[in-house]
């Protein structure tokens, strides 16, 4: 779906990417997964956060890719990184070493307490759908100082309770996560194509704190598998600026050319 701003139309995916990029402070050390997180992190680097440090699990530290990697280990990352270490070192010295400020996670399912499922739909032994699995997520969820979850919103993906907790959010809510005494705060926001959700104080249930421009509450309710609530003083997400959009689209354009495909 696209809508018209004073100057240019943008897609809800672009809104989601821009909203995610805006959450990244300059100089933050960011553990980046492939796909939308990588796009958002590089958009941040090319706009308001030039000194952001991007770490990819394949080994690059301080990567500054000119085009978006299609895989987590593209040569472009090695070429532009300050250094490239082994994958074991990334997980041991850098993630477990508590040097990551922000970890970006996607999900196949996310629930009202920010728990993530990327393992199976249905029972573990006899899955209806076998998903890719954990990857780096369980430890990113526990060890990054903050986690941002980014994915498109639908009743299928936003469920009251995930079939399988691959990576912990606030578990059953309230103090449940705090009991684990983890270095990481857990997911501080879920950023979707419709809105931004944040954990409500005390309950740690995710509620809508920002509605993207032009999105109705009804639309969000239809796309959520639990009775979603809207925070008092909920704001509207400012639309993407011309600069954000042009940098994002240039990035996609350069990427399409480099990867020899039309996006």
């Amino acid at each position: 779906m696209t809508r018209l701003t004073t100057e240019i139309a943008y897609t809800t995916t672009e809104m989601m990417t821009v909203a995610a990029a805006r959450r990244l402070m300059d100089r933050a050390v960011c553990f980046v997964g492939i796909g939308l997180p990588s796009t958002a992190a590089n958009l941040a680097r090319l706009t308001h956060a030039p000194a952001i440090v991007l770490i990819y699990e394949s080994g690059p530290i301080g990567a500054k890719p000119g085009v978006l990697p299609l895989s987590i280990g593209d040569g472009e990352l090695a070429d532009t990184a300050d250094t490239v270490v082994s994958t074991a070192e990334i997980f041991r010295y850098w993630l477990q070493g508590e040097r990551i400020d922000v970890g970006f996670l996607g999900a196949a399912q996310v629930d009202r307490f920010g728990n993530i499922n990327t393992t199976v739909i249905g029972p573990y032994e006899h899955p209806v759908v076998r998903l890719p699995g954990a990857g780096g997520a369980p430890e990113i969820a526990g060890l990054a100082k903050e986690v941002l979850i980014v994915l498109e919103q639908s009743k299928r993906t936003f469920v009251a309770k995930v079939d399988f907790i691959t990576s912990a959010g606030y578990l059953n809510g309230g103090e449940d996560r705090a009991r684990l005494k983890l270095p990481g705060k857990g997911p501080v926001a879920i950023i979707t194509d419709l809105c931004i959700m944040e954990p409500e104080p005390v309950s740690n249930e995710f509620v809508v704190t920002n509605l993207h421009a032009g999105i109705t509450r009804a639309r969000v309710e239809e796309a959520t598998g639990w009775k979603i609530r809207f925070a008092e003083g909920m704001k509207e997400t400012p639309e993407p600026t011309d600069r954000e959009l042009s940098v994002l689209r240039d990035l996609h354009q350069r990427t399409a050319v480099a990867h020899g495909r039309a996006d």
Binding site: G59, A78, T87, R92, N115, V129, E139, G260, R261
Partner: protein, 271 residues
């Protein structure tokens, strides 16, 4: 002492039915040429170990080489599902596939522990995750000094590790450059190691602190130009992203997969 031999002989002598085999390479330097030789030699009942069983294991699984898979993330990076992997897990085709599932941090630590000849690895993992409930090889361990409880996993000790690297010299010293993944640890953790390379050179011209495997820890070195295609070899060729996208269609049905396998892997047997 690394022997420089042809790939067919190396696979025949180093990889046997029922072996625990790790073919590693983290999106970079994935040893496809070696995997195709394993398929051609019809190895069976392998326990395949790999952090990211992407296309290479989709092919080995679809071809019926695997009995068990030890992994941490199974997908087609940036594209979607591995259809042959899912068909095996969801419908036992071409044969049932046992799955032992870990996280990246877990497997990376398990390879390090294997390389260090330790029986287990200690790390901070799986907090709040359901995975330990379904995997008995993830257990708690207490710090003898602070009493803090951490996570332990058994070290990974493959019978054979297979990797692809850019270069080897005539003695069989192997140089890996760029994204290193877990290849060095996977080789040092294994009983035997098979390395395919883009080329053999007189002088590796390696930095003193480069990632180099001495010839005496490698069982065999085989020349396999473009042996990592469709993945890439830093300094030699780029990742063939089109093929990763095409794979989604190729692997979607059993028939289209079998046709691809016949034409692109098996028929080379004649050659």
């Amino acid at each position: 002492m690394a022997e420089i031999v042809n790939l067919r002989d190396a696979v025949a002598s180093l990889i046997h039915d029922g072996d625990v085999v790790a073919l590693e390479g983290f999106t970079h330097l994935i040893p496809f040429a070696a995997a195709h030789e394993v398929i051609r030699q019809k190895r069976r009942d392998l326990t395949l170990v790999r952090m990211t069983p992407d296309l290479i294991y989709d092919q080995l699984i679809g071809a019926g080489c695997a009995r068990r898979l030890i992994f941490s993330w199974g997908g087609n990076p940036g594209v979607g599902s591995l259809h042959r992997f899912r068909d095996a897990v969801e419908h036992d085709w071409p044969r049932p596939l046992e799955v032992e599932e870990h996280s990246h941090a877990d497997m990376a630590n398990a390879y390090v522990a294997g390389a260090a000849n330790l029986p287990f690895a200690v790390f901070r993992g799986y907090a709040g995750s359901d995975l330990p409930r379904y995997n008995d090889r993830i257990r708690p361990v207490s710090c003898p000094f602070t009493g803090e409880v951490l996570t332990a996993v058994p070290s990974l000790r493959p019978d054979v590790t297979v990797i692809h690297a850019q270069r080897a010299d005539r003695k069989g010293n192997v140089l890996i450059r760029g994204i290193l993944g877990v290849q060095k640890e996977a080789v040092l953790a294994a009983r035997r190691a098979l390395v395919t390379v883009e080329e053999i050179v007189d002088d590796l011209k390696a930095d003193p602190n480069a990632c180099l495997l001495p010839h005496w820890v490698v069982s065999a070195v085989c020349v396999a130009p473009r042996g990592a295609h469709p993945s890439y070899a830093y300094g030699y060729y780029e990742r063939d992203n089109r093929f990763y996208q095409a794979w989604d269609t190729i692997a979607r049905t059993r028939e289209s997969f079998q046709t691809w396998l016949d034409e692109n892997v098996l028929k080379e047997q004649a050659a």
